[in-house]
């Protein structure tokens, strides 16, 4: 017993000494990228990828092995739920793969651990959508490459809008609201526009309105929610709930069937909803709805999401890993990848391909992507976003004053900080 106690004390003391001894390094940012050697890729490249990408990438990468006979790509599929934890553990244990897919909002955190390799000049920055490239940048250094992107648009029932007297897509804030209201009054729609009333990820629906109103919201070292532009956007967002245009308690999984039935006139979402709606609406439904860019106040700025590809400093096959990423972001490979898993290309040139430009809905996404924005890659963003979601819920459901909401978010954001 006494021996055990003594040992416990020893462990504590040791840990205390170790902690008092060393200070925190700077970590992340301001690094010089090493260049990548010439020639073809060789050896085994280990890759982690999530979701559908994880399932399909292994077969897709066979083409890369054909072009680079000395290289094999070994893909591990990781479920999204477990991915953050798995990557964090790998970084702590210094047992990382060569390449991993990384959600854009995790970029700041992982880059700050100092585990990611800065992007070499093998990759051409100008080929990508600027908003997507920005998600890879931490303290002016890029630590990854955008792989695929998505952005949010307004989905609306074209037929019901026409019935309500709106023959074309709403272009401004006022038009959007007028259309939603008119659909309720004239087309028998129960909810004119479904907006997310708080909960996880609602910031992705709210921030586009703030950005479209000229708000900066967040930079790498400053979070500024307490601004008149943000307050105005919040007030506009809230008005949909107070005027009973948006539901505050829509149960999970009822959005799509209600939209198909004509109970919901419009909603804000990403490209995956095109497939979902066609599936649920059946043949011919794709003629009944349309997508429109975010309505303009000062600009039309939506949210850009997606995933990046990063190489780890502990990679065993660094040069070939970057060559694999360079191959994945070639315009023609990006088009092929789109045809494989429906991931929208992060490379602008791919959008000229008829596979995308000939689509009914995609060109609208492509146009919106050019100006779409993402929050800066700061390590605390997920936490700031969660605080934001809670205040949005109060705004939408409990009628919290927009100015008070902005102030509450600001107070929390200040106490959380940017992790810098």
């Amino acid at each position: 017993m006494r021996g055990k106690q003594r040992l416990g004390v020893a462990v504590v003391a040791l840990a205390a000494i170790a902690m008092a001894g060393c200070g925190r390094g700077s970590g992340g940012g301001g690094e010089e990228a090493k260049s990548v050697g010439d020639g073809k890729a060789t050896g085994e490249i280990t890759v982690w990828a999530m979701g559908a990408e994880g399932e399909k990438l292994a077969a897709f990468a066979k083409q890369f092995s054909t072009e680079n006979p000395g290289a094999t790509v070994n893909v591990t599929a990781v479920p999204w739920d477990a991915a953050h934890q798995k990557i964090a553990t790998a970084i702590a244990a210094k047992q990382t793969p060569d390449v991993s897919m990384i959600g854009t909002t995790w970029q700041g955190e992982f880059a700050k651990t100092g585990a990611l390799d800065p992007t070499p000049n093998l990759i051409d920055k100008s080929a990508f959508f600027p908003g997507a490239w920005d998600t890879t940048v931490v303290n002016a250094t890029s630590y990854a490459v955008p792989w695929y992107v998505e952005t949010r648009l307004i989905y609306y029932r074209k037929d019901l809008a026409a019935q309500a007297g709106f023959m074309s897509a709403p272009k401004t804030w006022d038009e959007l609201k007028a259309m939603a209201k008119a659909m309720q009054e004239k087309a028998g729609v129960k909810w004119g526009l479904s907006l997310q009333p708080g909960k996880t990820g609602s910031w992705q629906s709210v921030l586009p309105f703030a950005w479209s109103n000229g708000a900066e919201v967040a930079t790498a070292d400053k979070l500024s929610f307490d601004k008149p532009e943000v307050v105005e956007a919040l007030a506009y967002y809230q008005s949909f709930f107070t005027e009973k245009i948006s539901p505050t308690d829509l149960p999970d999984g009822t959005l799509e069937p209600d939209f198909v039935k004509g109970q919901i006139g419009a909603f804000v979402s990403g490209p995956w909803h095109v497939g979902l709606l066609n599936e649920q609406g059946g043949a011919g439904f794709s003629d009944k709805f349309a997508v429109a860019p975010m309505p303009t106040k000062k600009s039309s700025t939506s949210f850009i999401g997606g995933s990046n590809l990063a190489v780890f400093k502990d990679a065993k096959n660094r040069d070939s890993a970057w060559k694999f990423i360079a191959w994945l972001t070639k315009p023609e490979v990006q088009v092929k990848w789109y045809q494989t898993v429906n991931d929208l290309p992060a490379v602008q040139k791919s959008w000229d391909d008829p596979a995308l430009s000939g689509d009914k809905f995609l060109p609208t996404f492509g146009a919106q992507l050019k100006s779409a924005k993402a929050p800066p890659a700061i390590s605390t963003w997920e936490q700031v976003a969660a605080a934001f979601d809670i205040e949005v819920e109060k705004l939408a459901k409990a009628g919290q004053d927009p100015a008070a909401t902005a102030k509450a978010v600001q107070t929390k954001a200040d106490s959380i900080g940017t992790g810098g």
Binding site: L7, V12, A16, C22, A88, A92, K199, Q383, A386, K397
Partner: protein
């Protein structure tokens, strides 16, 4: 060979331990060997305990005194010691206070409710009020062994405002049923009822065993003294059942203070954080990478659990 040597040790020991005799010099060696042998036997457990229990516990305690974040993963010793700052921050965090209040309400109502329900079910089954006893016993116990995910799906259907059974039943008697899980004042009570339903079967089984161990002659004596059913319950059953009740209370209290699964699968802590529990808050903070802060919150929860258990031992423990 080793076993043979061990077997001889107790034999020598018996002779050596005659009372009052001063220790002979030669005895120190066998004793030293005995200690080694003892530790050798205890080594597998001790090593496992030290590596997988003691070290992580100590490490997490140290962690709660630092500002360790997910971004420090590669250099965990580069963090700063912040003393009790995490604990101070905890109590000034509105969300943590909200979670603490929610958890306390859940425990204060949920634990007694579960115990009373479990005791009522056990008494009913025990006194032969109910036919098909085995069937009911299985039925009441089933929720305990059913996956929370399956239960959550069923309860979400039950509580659905449009298609739900509960609101449809209320509609039959002319009441316009509320949207249970989306109402800030009803979501937590809904979870309490669901948790009670899910857990009382376990207590019922424990209480049944306790009831059956009460000697029948005590009831006969009470009857001769003219005690009615309620008086028998009050003056015979309850006192005899006190150790069982204590066990039930402590186990349920520990489980309920760590409330997590129900809000996680049913409400995600909403609406408006009205079902956020302390464990859920800790889970979120670990998710955000605030390891030091989350560890501090875990220790506060730990102290609360110890406190509640001690309180129950005081209230229900033996009074002899």
């Amino acid at each position: 060979m080793a076993t043979a040597r061990v077997a001889t040790v107790p034999a020598k020991q018996v002779g050596a331990q005659s009372p009052g005799r001063p220790a002979p010099v030669a005895r120190t060696r066998p004793r030293w060997r005995q200690a080694v042998t003892g530790w050798a036997f205890a080594a597998p457990f001790s090593v496992l305990f030290l590596v997988f229990m003691a070290v992580p516990v100590v490490a997490s305690l140290v962690m709660s005194l630092t500002d360790l974040r997910a971004t420090d993963l590669r250099h965990p010793f580069g963090v700063n010691f912040v003393g009790l700052d995490n604990y101070a921050k905890l109590f000034s965090d509105g969300l943590f206070r909200r979670a603490a209040v929610n958890t306390l309400i859940f425990v204060a109502i949920g634990v007694p409710l579960t115990i009373v329900t479990g005791l009522a079910a056990a008494s009913a089954l025990n006194s032969g009020l109910v036919r098909l006893r085995a069937l009911f016993r299985v039925g009441f116990y089933l929720p305990v062994v059913t996956s929370i995910v399956a239960i959550a799906v069923i309860w979400r259907f039950l509580l659905d405002p449009g298609a739900g059974l509960v609101d449809n039943l209320l509609a039959l008697v002319g009441i316009d049923g509320p949207n249970w899980l989306f109402d800030t004042s009803l979501a937590l009570p809904s979870l309490i009822v669901m948790a009670t339903w899910r857990n009382f079967g376990f207590l019922m089984v424990i209480f049944l065993a306790g009831l059956q161990s009460i000697p029948i002659h005590l009831y006969e004596a009470a009857k001769l003294d003219g005690a009615g059913r309620w008086q028998q319950f009050r003056h015979v059953t309850l006192p005899m059942l006190r150790p069982t009740l204590l066990f039930g209370g402590v186990v349920t209290g520990i489980g309920y203070l760590q409330l997590f699964e129900e809000p996680f699968v049913m409400t995600q802590g909403g609406p408006l954080s009205s079902t956020l529990s302390v464990s859920y808050h800790i889970y979120n903070q670990f998710g955000f990478g605030n390891y030091g802060y989350a560890a501090a919150a875990s220790y506060v929860l730990f102290v609360a659990i110890v406190g509640l258990s001690l309180l129950q031992f005081r209230l229900l423990g033996s009074r002899d």
